[in-house]
């Protein structure tokens, strides 16, 4: 007799079961990350408490968490829209940069005044991000070029393009040669609240979530996106123009990510600078997965990620842990989440087998 296990398909678990696997994935990731902390000579329990205290224990902490969550919500939504159609936009990072460049260009050179400045910056960011992603959309829709590769590679181009601008033509003439653009005029800045860095970009993010929810769940466009995502052949058979839809959805996804670039430069940094996004566009992929591509889910997960980023900063200060720890933790969560997916669809069953079978 030998003992072996067999993989069996199981019913799609209940919503509760699926939520539980998500929570379990996060807990297991916390547990494994604990060993990393131990290896660094830090008590994990103390560190986790410190993260929570730092991120939620004060008005400042909460405001910082919301500030970090803002670009995550917007890019998470951007990515999830495309994911619903089984289109993998890995290029939100580059689209943030392009959005930021668009907004900055308007802020620095348009000379517009208060009521028009911000809308113009918003529109420029929206179009710049959308245009950037539509390159991948066109290639995919017209010639079946894999959008994963194109969007990913275009990230590097976008980041270097932004660098070129701030090291070159857009560099602040009065900036002692630092790679920064000039500070934006007040008309090009979003409102800030409570004497903190919390800015109205957060409310733009919430508004985006509502818009994406309505688009996906209530409109005939969202219906087509879901139908194409579920079965492109059936969608084509039913008369949907799948190529056009792929192009438009990638463009929309990029445009939404562009809004995140606008929100960052107009709300937070008030200039274009190197390292504008510390990988929000990549974190967005994790967020969209964790959120199961739902708009409300994106908000919740983004807030959790915000806590992690703010708390992670405090780990740096208190224990001199590298910032890489926060990213390692994100990676672990995604890893266990994907493993969790497997257990949603399958179960392992131990079976006894005759040795002479």
């Amino acid at each position: 007799m030998s003992l072996a296990f067999r993989v069996e398909k199981r019913d799609q678990g209940s919503a509760l079961f699926r939520s539980l696997t998500i929570i379990a994935s996060v807990l297991v990731a916390l547990f494994v990350a604990g060993f990393l902390l131990l290896a660094a000579g830090v008590n994990p329990a103390t560190a986790y408490l410190e993260i929570l205290r730092e991120a939620l224990g004060s008005t400042y902490g909460i405001s910082e968490t919301l500030v970090k969550a803002t670009p995550l919500i917007i890019t998470g939504l951007a990515v999830s829209v495309a994911f619903r159609m089984q289109i993998w936009n890995i290029g939100a990072e580059g689209q943030i940069y392009m959005g930021a460049c668009g907004a900055t260009g308007v802020a620095l050179f348009s000379g517009l005044d208060a009521p028009l400045m911000l809308p113009a910056m918003f529109a420029a960011a929206f179009f710049a991000g959308g245009l950037w992603a539509s390159v991948a959309g066109l290639l995919r829709a017209r010639w079946q070029v894999n959008e994963v590769i194109v969007t990913l590679l275009m990230n590097y181009i976008a980041i270097l393009l932004a660098d070129y601008l701030i090291y070159g033509p857009w560099k602040n003439p009065d900036g002692y040669n630092f790679p920064l653009t000039a500070q934006f005029v007040d008309a090009a800045r979003l409102t800030e609240y409570f004497n903190t860095r919390l800015h109205s970009g957060f409310f733009i993010a919430l508004f985006c979530a509502l818009a994406v929810y309505l688009l996906m769940e209530r409109t005939i466009w969202g219906y087509q996106i879901k139908a194409i995502g579920s079965n492109p052949a059936a969608a084509r058979y039913a008369g949907m123009k799948t190529g056009l839809a792929i192009f438009l959805v990638l463009a929309l996804s990029g445009a939404i990510a562009g809004i995140a670039g606008f929100s960052e430069v107009a709300g937070l940094q008030h200039r274009l600078q190197h390292g504008l996004s510390p990988g929000y566009g990549y974190t967005a992929i994790i967020i969209a997965w964790l959120a199961r591509r739902s708009a409300l889910g994106v908000i919740i997960v983004s807030l959790l990620m915000g806590i992690l980023l703010v708390g992670g900063d405090s780990l740096q200060l208190s224990w001199q842990l590298p910032v890489a720890f926060a990213y390692a933790f994100q990676g672990l969560i995604l890893f266990f989440l994907l493993a969790g997916d497997f257990f949603i669809n399958f179960r392992l069953r131990w079976v006894k087998e005759d040795a002479d079978a």
């Binding site: 067999r6 019913d11 309505l214 579920s230 079965n231 059936a234």
Partner: protein
Amino acid sequence: MPKLLQLQHIRKTFPGVVALDDVSFSIAEGEIHTLLGENGAGKSTLMNVLTGFYAPDSGSLLLDGQPVRFSSPRDSLALGIGMVHQHFMLVAAHSVLENILVALQGVPLFFPRRQLRSRIEQTIAEFGIELELDTPVWQLSIGAQQWIELIKLLMRDCRLLILDEPTAVLTPQEADKLFQVLQRLKQQGKSIIFISHKMREVMEISDRVTILKKGSSVTTLEAGEFNQNKLATLMIGGDRIPEWQKSLPFSDELVLEIENLAVRNDRGLADLDNFNLQLKKGEILGIAGIAGNGQKALAEALTGLTKVESGRVLANGEDITRSCARSSYIAGIAHIPEDRKAIGIAPDLSLDENLILKNFRAKRFRHGVFQSRSAIRNNAIEKVDQFAIKAGPQGSPVRLLSGGNIQKVIIARELSEQPTVLVALYPTRGLDIGSAEYVHKVIAEGAGNGMSTILISEDLDELYKICDRIAVIFRGRLIGYADPTSSSREEIGLMMSGEVSA
């Protein structure tokens, strides 16, 4: 006769479904044993248990009286159990010989090609099969490809051959040839499990018949104990069969005329070549032909899924091949596709959403760009009731429904906009008798209301039963029309192999 294989109290469950429940039957040496059952009765699951794809939850398999346990198809093949699947496992670019060699066991690294070749040729000659060993597989007809699968099993000295609906891809003449071969194999002491829906074949060839119904074996009958009616009754059990009347005589008004239509496939080969067809109002026109002779291209050209190379399609006398009117006319053509799960449904969307897949833009389902949820729900309630769809919990993905119910969802959707023309590809393939009768009823009722149907089927019985005329297609050309009331099966069979042109 000694028992070759016994299945005892086999039970196999899948999440939420009992696929097989206490199934027992046995196969004697030198016996042709037919497995009969509606779709979903558990035939495929049972065969998958037999060939080692699935392990049963409980129950036992006895081979020559010894208990055996398969953990993969390799194990069952090693013990001489082989299967010809409905979808062939062949490498299209390779020759017949190469495809057979791949299946051989215990071939040395530097294999004696000439010796193996003569062995294969011997087997082919022994059964009087016509097969050229050096032809690449893609050039062969589907029927010839099936021979390769069979020869693969013979070369491996399989004692038990399982054939899953082998005649689906054959002309009546080819089927007769297959039956001769099977009879010879039986005389050699081989055992055969034969799966089919076609009653006539079952009557012709079976020594014993086991009927499966809803996952359990109803009964096993010896030859002489059964006739077609008895088998059908046992298969359906107490299920209600919808009643319908064959449609009234159709009018002479032409709704659709196809002239010299040519369609090429991805490889640039002609799927349809100089094809002509005339469809009259209220007519049910059957298209008979062996699978792969251009039926799919015809359906796709009519429904706008494939580019037309040359030729014309006239609707009510107006050329719509390339005009702008085409797309709007196509919108009026309902299409029941061949592969319903692959292109008929969006599997992750709900029943409600799938029912509006084609007409989601209709005014009644939306307010501006927003979908009207209540209208979509009411539409679903209406269709579920009208087409007797067994729907799951509201909002659950449509892929969880059974094949028959998915087919009903597609039919309900396609007929909901009162089409003038219905193009149906194998609409009853894989359906249980109740559902299949239901589909026939819907088509006949549609014809009564003036809808014209092009019914593409490989089942001559079905075509005889429901069609007003039968057109025969061979290698992308129309061979001729036959009248189901006067033409014999043999005449149509000959036309299907392209030999006679009427």
